[in-house]
Symmetry: C2
């Protein structure tokens, strides 16, 4: 390509999948991206463009002639266009909107009007709607005619005069039906639909639950306005998983997609808030120890076990909160119920504490030079693990009940809460043991 | 239903989606499940059965008459049948296998022969294969005929005499094609295929990348043996995300699906291994502190800042490892490269350390009664956060390079590593500061 061997490059791009071509273009140096893109055939170019990285999409917008750009933007499918506009500065979007053909402009403005991360934003308005009276043969010829302009022809929708959804049928139903029968007889009247303001996570869960290829979206007046297809939702499922994983690591969710392209300060900004909250909470641990410095002065070696105890407590708490948060997010916890989940985790925590004491107690006896420290470590170990597991289970459930995101009660947060309580339990136990052994 | 009002119950189940019926049956008391299930129509019963929870499936197997059971198992689609057999004891599976019709038996035994979590296990053998010579009209009538017996009719496959895959076409291509043209002219020859032993995670990634509804699976001789459909892969994507999230919380991955049904000991067993490894590692922290007890004896208040320092280090390390592990798992880190990722994380760690010092230093001055502890805390805070971020990035990348699962380098592990190093850095700094201030 650098050598200007266009024909060869063209051949190279020929037999590939659009997404592979998009990747290849994205990996080229900036100045060659526009060149390579121009080599594509018109139809292919639009498909490839939809698969390009947002950053590359924007570079191309700047480097292609405005006529070329307008043609691409005009021909993109409405949902992909809205996704692109989301990334562009408002000024550029306004320019594009006014240059679009009236029909496309109206659709795009409408989609942009819905809240981000709702079904309204994800959906495409390019679907096939049929009427109950049409025969299967008529419907099939209509599908043939409209196939080039719609996102999917496999899910077909039947509406009445007021555009209310009355039934769905699949292309499979249509193809296998008696050609002369009206589709009203073939369609399924029991329709699962979602509303334009349904959250994308819920949409993903519905499509996953019913194994559908697409879901119809209706507006407030129950009129069919668009469909959401399974390929868009796979990305949503991955994005939501990333969000949960980030939350579990106390990384503030942002635009997860472009993390590996964002600047150092953006990255730091997304992490500092949680760190500051946690560092302030950890200040309490410092206070608790400072208030108990009398006992530490008497037995300095007690300090040596603080990291082990609070570390273990933190790990047990992290395990519990991980399992509970994931269970809430996949809705699998429902079958067990909140109270039984907490009880189960509490007992698990106690069990784990007992197991670990078998290792830790002898170690503490040896390293702590005697039974006093070993007993303090052992007793507090079991209390801390039980408490940590309980807290790790309760806090996310409580947040969920309060309609807050349970993922905020992430492992680092649970760890910090456990730290404070753990140090307090440990030092109090040691003080109590010391006093009883003296009297 | 309890009152024996069967007709009403039947009506109630009538208009629902199979998955909803499956849920309703699953929530019934054990003795009623079989009763409710018998009320379903034959065809519906099989579909509903495929959606039932594995536990309920097994209960039904025991409670229905063996004739009924055999009919269901015979009519299930091969991939769902294999999934059921995976859960059953080997003895029961052998009994079922021998009772299946020869054709179904052969297919099922074949699928069971592939490794778990590979494309071979996920795929169904019920697909439509066409020949290049057939006209679009011929092909369409073939599709019509075979529609009731295949999982999808939207992805069609073209094979030669040796059953080698030569092309694919979608039902959309077929429906819109000129009826008299041979499908060899319409099909796409550039086929993305996977092999029977491809890991399910890779299969999911491929289907997500290309936005396909199904992927063809070929054997070692490149013959088409099955297809994997998108609905099976959505479950895989969720399962893999759960696995990553569990790993991030140091919960050993097991059968994630049935967690909320497993016993306390199973749960504890899945967590104890990691906890024991971590507790042993934390023993090193104890050793480090015990070896430095001289300085703690002199300044007991130093101990009060240990949890804060190692806690913060752990949190920063957890953030870095979370982002890097997720980046490896979604393959988005590729665009940045390993070395640049580590450098980026190291600088971020240092930045975060400086930010936090602005809060922690004054606090340590006040609580630690003077500049000595404050300086020790401040200096080690920056060193610890930098080290933690670097370790959090390097260890998962190293594991990935060594072909081990990077998710094993989870937050709790990074936290523990940081604990040991953090205590050492802190106490050494304090010792050095004390010595310099004395001389």
């Amino acid at each position: 390509l650098i050598a200007g061997n266009y024909d060869e490059a063209k051949l190279l791009l020929e037999p590939s999948q659009p997404v592979d071509i998009a990747d290849a273009i994205g990996s080229l140096p900036l100045i060659l991206q526009a060149l390579a893109f121009r080599l594509l055939k018109k139809n292919e170019a639009i498909e490839v463009y939809e698969y390009l990285d947002p950053v590359v999409q924007q570079t191309l917008l700047e480097r292609l002639r405005s006529g070329e750009v307008l043609e691409i933007v005009e021909k993109m499918s409405p949902d992909d266009r809205v996704q692109l506009f989301d990334e562009l500065p408002a000024k550029v979007v306004r320019k594009f909107l006014s240059a679009l053909s009236p029909g496309e402009r109206k659709v795009t403005a409408e989609l942009l009007g819905y809240e981000p991360e709702t079904a309204g934003r994800l959906m495409t308005t390019e679907f096939i709607d049929l009427k109950e009276m049409q025969t299967a043969a008529e419907a099939l010829s209509l599908v043939r005619k409209r196939a080039p302009f719609t996102e999917t022809i496999y899910s077909l929708y039947v509406t009445d005069k007021e555009r209310h959804l009355t039934g769905i049928l699949s292309l499979r139903d249509l193809v296998t039906a008696d050609p002369s029968r009206p589709i009203g007889d073939v369609m399924t009247r029991d329709v699962v639909n979602i509303s334009t303001n349904t959250n994308q996570e819920e949409v993903a869960r519905a499509i996953q639950r019913y194994d559908f290829l697409a879901l119809p979206v209706v507006d407030k007046e129950k009129r069919l306005v668009g469909i959401v297809t399974v390929d868009d939702l796979i990305d949503v499922i991955e994005q939501e998983a990333t969000r949960d994983i980030y939350a579990a690591g106390a990384v503030q969710p942002g635009d997860e997609d472009d993390y590996f392209q964002s600047s150092l300060f953006t990255i730091a900004r997304r992490r500092i808030l949680w760190l500051l909250i946690l560092v302030l909470a950890n200040g309490l641990t410092t206070k608790v120890i400072a208030m108990n410095d009398q006992i530490l002065k008497e037995i300095v070696l007690l300090a040596a076990f603080i990291p082990l105890l609070i570390g273990t407590g933190g790990n047990v708490g992290a395990q519990s909160s991980t399992v509970v948060i994931r269970g809430l997010s996949t809705q699998k916890l429902k079958s067990l119920g909140a109270i039984r989940a907490v009880v189960k985790e509490a007992i698990t925590g106690a069990l784990l504490g007992v197991f670990m004491m078998l290792v830790v107690f002898p170690f503490a006896w040896w390293q702590g030079e005697g039974p006093l420290i070993a007993s303090a470590v052992g007793i507090s170990l079991i209390s801390i693990t039980t408490l940590a597991a309980t807290t790790g289970a309760i806090l996310p459930l409580l947040f969920d009940k309060m309609k807050l995101d349970p993922a905020l009660m992430s492992s680092p947060f649970i760890t910090t809460v456990t730290d404070i309580a753990g140090v307090f339990i440990y030092l109090s136990t040691a003080k109590w043991l010391l006093n009883s052994s003296l009297t």
